[in-house]
């Protein structure tokens, strides 16, 4: 086996040194009746070239080189090549959690820079890179709000990513955390009257997403006023991090739960991504996850360490702020490099291109379907309602090797034939025009003939 660095003679010599007759002696503690006396039924050992071929085949079966209009919590942005050059360095890739600070300063300083940049971008005072993804970060933020306020309930907007809401429901279920869902209005934003009614004296926090699942930017200030008036905290989830380049961050929030995937992390069919929690200094001791702090060594030299560990499971066990052990360092490093590349000016220009592409696409789609929620500003996603089932539209688009917008029937049946479309800087005008033509064709077909039966099957 090519990963194993021992010759048969080495193994013999080692067994002899130990005083064992054979390797079986070392497995004697395992009762004989349970030992596996056959080969595992897994594929035979493969050569590297065979492994590469096998996965190339899988890659070809997986929409290789397709353009996409999908967003909805996972965004296709261009990834500058130096991200992979740098994260492929073994010193980053193959290091452990930086408990031993003297030989982990690279990882520690990188996380410190990440924390600093996230603070700059979100307007918060402290941040970490220790959550699995945006969905679990939102759930952990809600739990944190309960610890801070001593209250138990959460009011969550229906315009938050449906899968984030499902995850919160799973986490909340056994913690005595009642959830109230707050509807959205015709402009796609949180219904403020309903929100006001949904908050009780036991509401620990209001949880919203902005830009929300429909791409609409929420009126964060108004929502914050309502939450704070009732003594509840405001948690804002940000799923599309690139929006921070041009959209005012939710500075009125008490906790921001973020998905940093857009910052240079590949889509990879849904993970691994980068969950972030950012908050105010006063709440830092209730934060879950790892934090890096600056300090000095015995000679007064600047250095970095994992800090405030008394919140964590390896010290506090069942009294910890969370069971989390991960610190999503490698993915945070991708995001750190991405933020460094684009920086103060580039991030704004990048976000502006996203805005322009989505604005153009929405305008074009608007000629042949109804663009919903047009009364409020949005970033790079928008919802189009059509006469035809969006699966049928997508079926035609797919023939051009383009994946259409996300049909919303599963999540929001009340919106009918609606789909969520996303444009980023990589979306071409040609792809937009192709998609719009297909939607237009659908409108004509629905008006004249019956829908072809087999297209739906193609697109699902």
């Amino acid at each position: 086996m090519r990963y194993l660095p021992k010759s048969p003679a080495d193994r013999e010599a080692m067994l002899k040194a130990i005083g064992a007759r054979s390797i079986d002696d070392l497995f004697a503690p395992i009762p004989a009746e349970y030992r596996l006396n056959r080969d595992l039924k897994v594929p035979r050992q493969m050569a590297e070239s065979e492994i590469v071929d096998w996965f190339r085949e899988r890659s070809r079966e997986n929409g290789e080189a397709y353009a996409t209009f999908l967003g909805a919590g996972a965004y296709y942005h261009y990834r500058p090549v130096i991200i992979d050059s740098l994260i492929s360095r073994g010193e980053f890739l193959t290091a452990y959690t930086p408990y031993q600070a003297e030989i982990s300063q690279g990882t520690l300083q990188s996380i410190f820079e990440f924390q600093s940049m996230i603070c700059e971008l979100t307007g918060m005072e402290v941040a970490n890179a220790s959550m699995y993804d945006g969905s679990t970060a939102a759930a952990e933020a809600a739990m944190m709000a309960c610890r801070v306020t001593g209250r138990h309930a959460v009011a969550i907007a229906r315009s938050v990513h449906p899968e984030y809401r499902e995850v919160l429901a799973t986490y909340a279920h056994h913690q005595g955390m009642p959830l109230a869902t707050v509807p959205f209005t015709d402009n796609g934003r949180v219904n403020l009257n309903e929100l006001d009614k949904a908050i009780t004296p036991d509401t620990a926090c209001v949880l919203i997403q902005s830009p929300n699942f429909f791409g609409t930017i929420e009126d964060v200030a108004a929502i914050a006023d309502i939450a704070h008036k009732h003594g509840a905290m405001l948690v804002v989830s940000i799923a599309e991090a690139v929006s921070l380049g041009i959209v005012e961050p939710p500075r009125q929030a008490d906790i921001i739960a973020m998905e940093a995937q857009s910052f240079g992390v590949p889509l990879t069919f849904g993970g691994p991504y980068c969950g972030v929690i950012a908050t105010r200094e006063q709440y830092v001791r209730q934060m879950p996850g790892r934090l890096v702090g600056q300090t000095t060594d015995r000679n007064g030299k600047r250095g970095f360490v994992l800090t405030l560990a008394t919140r964590e499971q390896h010290i506090r066990r069942e009294k910890a702020t969370s069971n989390i052990c991960t610190n999503q360092a490698l993915i945070a490093l991708m995001a750190n490099i991405f933020m460094t590349i684009y920086g103060k000016v580039g991030l704004r220009e990048l976000a502006k291109q996203n805005l322009a592409k989505a604005a153009y696409a929405a305008q074009q789609f608007g000629k042949h379907g109804k663009v919903l929620f047009s009364g409020a500003p949005r970033f790079n996603e928008f919802v189009v309602q059509t006469s035809e089932d969006p699966y049928a539209i997508n079926g035609r688009i797919l023939q051009h090797r383009i994946v259409g917008g996300l049909p919303l029937k599963k999540f929001y049946p009340e919106l009918g034939n609606a789909a969520l479309w996303c444009c980023t800087e990589v979306t071409t005008r040609a792809a937009i025009d192709t998609a719009v033509r297909s939607a237009a064709e659908g409108e004509r077909m629905v008006k004249s003939v019956k829908e072809p039966a087999d297209v739906q099957e193609v697109a699902r």
């Binding site: 595992l40 990882t107 990879t268 830092v284 969370s322 999503q328 933020m339 920086g343 580039g346």
Partner: protein, 495 residues
């Protein structure tokens, strides 16, 4: 320094400030293509939601970024540099073909919501890995959704709860041995269970008599790490399982130490009802400085109705798809399907090994640990004489007499060119030195490690002050953690 190390030599590395300290207006590392759609008026589109300023975000060029992060990287220790004997963490070689295949276009750029018709490659990977892991663990079904080991524990206990609830009541308690990882009790608390401690016996194993007396209809499950954190296989495992099952409880196995079992014995065969795996340990996906992990949960048939949604199914037409309609499911534990990129790597590792390679890997891991144990016996105190598997736990009892603790020995090990072992864990061993070499170490590296540890033991006798002040060769000396926690500085701010 009196003792000279054969493994490491001091060498120059570069100083480097924070990236913010290199920033100046007008430098850039980015270039966007010209817009192929009309420019927009941002004020008109966004109104008061428009952001005007990005604060202190840096402005630097590409070469500066390359040098910045390359310089930082040289300040890290890594498996690629040498042995990383962190007990319980399983720091094994991370094969590079895994990195190549996980970056193939259709996999790296696959969107989680793309139609199933154009997701067959990803679905096949999910299915194939699931089949391999089910076979390796001897279980009946699996969910790949949990994003890390602790997340797997959470998922597992949600399954336990749903199972008992379906029988009438969720029960109240989880039994956890005193040698367990901190995530176990923290997880139990998150799922609304009380934690009851289970004492270990003199051999470092579960005290079966104590278990029998503590087990009752209030206990939902026992969370057991096997081999445990002392590296000891629970020899009475089937009795343990029987005691749990007789009172309707479940046996949960923390699979952190699965590296000691793969291809030799299967938890499903010795009575385990559910367990999580750490793909970043046993299945070689890189730790990357602490994450991402991946923590699939393998289960017996009785728990299948409760699995998180969605699950992968074969459809009548032979293609694969996701099934969402599972009324008894515990729900979702994460958006999308889990850390797919880690599944690709874990599967590539499994394919590179095959059945023979997986078995040899386990044998070598156990061989390496026992070789170290033999080499250091008599030099460091061995609190439990019970045979060990893939890791061995010593204590600093001998050295503590000179005022030198496990952390000091660990820090001195850095000067010898090694990453420290795990210190002060498990909690049942005061002053623990927990050593797990994994299968990835050649005999030469193990010999250097043993030599280094012996040399440090001598230093403790001759010059304890020198050991207490270690490390001496790193770019920073021991850092003031107390000051860091007392007045936390958690971000850079302009002077």
């Amino acid at each position: 320094m009196k003792h000279v190390t054969r493994k490491a030599t001091r060498h120059v590395n570069q100083n480097e400030g924070l990236i913010f300290e290199k920033s100046s207006p007008g430098k850039a590392a980015w270039k966007l293509p010209p817009l192929d759609v009309p420019e927009v008026d941002t004020a008109e589109l966004l109104g008061s939601s428009e952001r005007k300023d990005l604060g202190n975000m840096p402005e630097v060029s590409e070469i500066e970024i390359i040098r910045h992060f390359t310089r930082l990287s040289t300040w890290n220790y890594a498996i690629d540099l040498g042995m990383y004997p962190l007990g319980s963490c399983t720091m094994k070689y991370n094969p590079r073909v895994n990195e190549v295949v996980s970056r193939l276009d259709g996999l790296a750029n696959g969107h989680p919501y793309q139609p199933e018709k154009v997701s067959q490659g990803a679905l096949r990977i999910l299915q194939t890995l699931s089949e391999c892991l089910i076979e390796i663990t001897g279980m009946d079904a699996i969910t790949l959704q949990p994003a890390a080991g602790a997340h797997g524990e959470l998922t597992g206990l949600l399954l336990v709860r749903a199972y008992h609830q379906s029988k009438g009541a969720p029960r109240k308690k989880i039994l956890i041995p005193d040698s367990a990882h901190g995530t176990n009790p923290a997880t139990a608390a998150m799922v609304g269970y009380a934690v009851e401690n289970l004492k270990s016996n003199a051999q470092g194993m579960v005290d079966v008599a104590a278990l029998a007396s503590q087990m009752n209809e209030e206990v939902a499950a026992l969370m057991l790490t096997n081999p445990n954190t002392l590296g000891i296989f629970e020899q009475e495992i089937h009795k343990i399982a029987d005691i749990m099952h007789a009172k309707g409880g479940l046996l949960y196995m923390d699979g952190a130490n699965m590296n000691a079992l793969v291809g030799k014995v299967r938890p499903g065969d010795f009575g385990v009802d559910l367990m999580h795996l750490n793909l970043h340990k046993t299945f070689s996906t890189p730790h990357g400085g602490g994450g991402p992990g991946s923590g699939p949960v393998a289960i017996k048939k009785i728990l299948e109705p409760f699995l998180p949604t969605p699950v992968v199914i074969a459809k009548p037409d032979g293609t694969l798809g996701f099934e969402y309609n599972r009324p008894q499911s515990v729900g979702r534990v994460r958006a999308f399907y889990g850390n797919f990129g880690m599944f690709v790597r874990a599967l590539a590792y499994t394919l590179a090994n095959g059945p023979d390679g997986l078995r040899q890997t386990t044998e070598d891991a156990v061989l390496n640990a026992n070789y170290i144990r033999k080499g250091l016996e008599g030099v460091y105190d061995l609190p439990y004489a019970t045979p060990t598997m893939h890791e061995v736990v010593f204590s600093d009892k001998v050295q503590a007499k000179k005022g030198v603790k496990t952390m000091d020995i660990a820090k001195r090990l850095i000067d010898y060119g090694f990453h420290p072992y795990t210190t002060a864990f498990p909690l049942i061993v005061p002053g623990a030195l927990m050593i797990e070499p994994t299968e990835s170490e050649p005999k030469e590296e193990l010999d250097l490690f043993i030599e280094a540890m012996k040399s440090i033991a001598e230093e403790v006798e001759e010059d304890p002050q020198m050991v207490l002040a270690a490390p001496h060769t790193t770019r920073v000396s021991r850092l003031d953690e107390t000051a860091a926690a007392r007045k936390p500085v958690l971000r850079w701010k302009p002077a």
